[in-house]
Symmetry: C2
Subunit: 310 residues, 2 copies
């Protein structure tokens, strides 16, 4: 199976309102809820691609119970191996203006994880690695988890011989990358924050020098830039796509992981990731991907080799 880790799982709540006006009262017209946190989104896409996927991370409180109930509806393709904690899983509220589609996001910080809960997670994670073909470490850290948490999880995966992908930002990314993950997938902002450079190719090479075996940078409408040991590629959709970019990065991660466990060459992995990402932007519901668009786009992604060694 493929394992995704979401230490700060969430219940993603979307509110439809006519228009958000600060300091006034709004009647919410529509309410939707789904399990959230990057690793859960990645898992959903992997399952849709036919992979056997297990999710772990923390869950707690009434909101955690709702997340698990919603996840159970996605079984058997997604296996719930979330670890219970005393605190309450966070909510994220996306307030969408009906007229314009503009979104205002409110993200709760998440539960405070105790040292004992973190130690318990490391044990559970170690066991799950025993049957994992690959692992993705995704998203922000909840309060209480050490900032070097991803470095610890990466070393554990490397010791177990499981390829590990890291998708986070800020200091957790900086610390994690030093532990030599197989793949990191920063977006342009995250890469610039890490390296200080806004020039993607130079920054991706810098990130490799910091410890990442491969860097796949997501460049929005320009697609993906991959810097691997054996080459550098750019992969772009056939045309710019318009829609809701929520979850596009998570779909790219799912494409990369899926290609990794299938042993696809880099150009094919990148084409899959770009097509999934674009098909997610095109889907009406945030974070879903449009299957027909994906099938159509897959053969039309342009992959260019920029160099034969990074």
């Amino acid at each position: 199976m493929i394992l995704t880790v979401t230490l700060n799982t969430a219940l993603d709540v979307t509110y439809g309102v006519p228009a958000l006006a600060p300091h006034s009262s709004h009647r919410v017209d529509t309410v939707t809820e789904r399990p959230g946190g990057k690793g859960l989104n990645v898992a959903r896409v992997l399952a849709a691609l036919g992979h056997d996927v297990t999710v772990t991370g923390f869950t707690g409180g009434a909101t955690g119970t709702v997340v698990r109930e919603l996840l159970a509806r996605e079984a058997p393709s997604v296996t719930d191996a979330l670890v219970p904690v005393a605190g309450s899983t966070r909510r994220t509220i996306a307030v969408v203006d009906a007229a314009t589609g503009d979104t205002t996001q409110l993200n709760e910080p998440g539960p405070v994880i105790t040292p004992a809960e973190w130690a318990g997670f490391l044990d559970a994670y170690g066991e799950l690695l025993g049957t994992a073909e690959a692992v993705a470490l995704c998203g922000s850290l909840p309060p209480g988890v050490p900032v070097g948490a991803y470095a610890v999880l990466i070393r554990q995966a490397r010791t177990a011989g499981v390829p590990v992908l890291l998708d986070t930002s800020g200091e957790p990314l900086r610390r994690g990358i030093a532990a030599r993950p197989d793949l990191v997938k920063p977006n342009a902002d995250e890469l610039a924050q890490l390296t200080g450079s806004r020039e993607p190719l130079g920054a991706a090479r810098d990130a490799r020098r910091r410890g990442a075996r491969t860097v796949v940078a997501s460049l929005g409408a320009k697609g993906l830039l991959a810097a691997a040991a054996d080459g550098i590629w750019q992969a772009a959709p056939p045309a710019a796509v318009r829609g809701n970019p929520t979850g596009a990065g998570d779909s790219a991660v799912a494409g990369l992981l899926s290609g990794l466990v299938e042993g696809l060459p880099w150009p094919e992995r990148l084409a899959r990731a770009v097509a999934l990402s674009a098909a997610t932007v095109l889907a009406p519901a945030a974070g879903e991907f449009d299957r027909a668009a994906y099938d159509d786009l897959l053969s039309r992604v342009a992959v260019t080799e920029l160099a034969t060694a990074a």
Copy 2:
């Protein structure tokens, strides 16, 4: 016991953010949750005043479970007689700007109540009336409940000989008032919407002609205006109070109900209601009242008799 009815109970969630900026992403700094809906707020204040109080209305889903768990912490002073439904209790989100204290409110609509659930509620309500000294009908109606619901509940209370207070707005108020409640407590806007008049005394008299035995209008900083069969009174706090007005109207309702079951004359009821209301504005937490401020204000509320018959 005193019975309060909250057909559209809520989980009131408060988010502290530095400043709300539409169409951007916010990290929420503080999250607080408490049982909400006007009747639950009224019950909390009645319990603090030493009354035995029972709450009923609808509750359902994961959010309903949280509301009941939080209510249980207030037991034994508040008895939970909420009726379970299949839909999910609504959340209200108050986003408070840390710098200015300005609040942006997002209110979910509430669960859709089926005809069978409404019929079941009427049975439960009828039983509760058997031991009630007074009943307060509070707040908005969830989807599915007939717009004339309060008229039905008022007639049932009158048949059972239980004094009934109505605190709602719009069409449910208009329909309810025609069923001859003992007391309605509109604010200035609700009274103007009902009667078409912004002149409080004339509008209160109009509301009496529409069926309310007594009208107590809440006029913000100006206090309360009461139009009863045996007189008209104005009750005002000794000075304008500054603070968070959330829940001030619910505290006034609690003061009126409390004075009713204790058989206090109108001037004393109104003084209590005004002091509680002002002490709620002064309390740091939304919807709580400041006990010391209440004790201090109680003797200092000015009650003026404007006429000896309405």
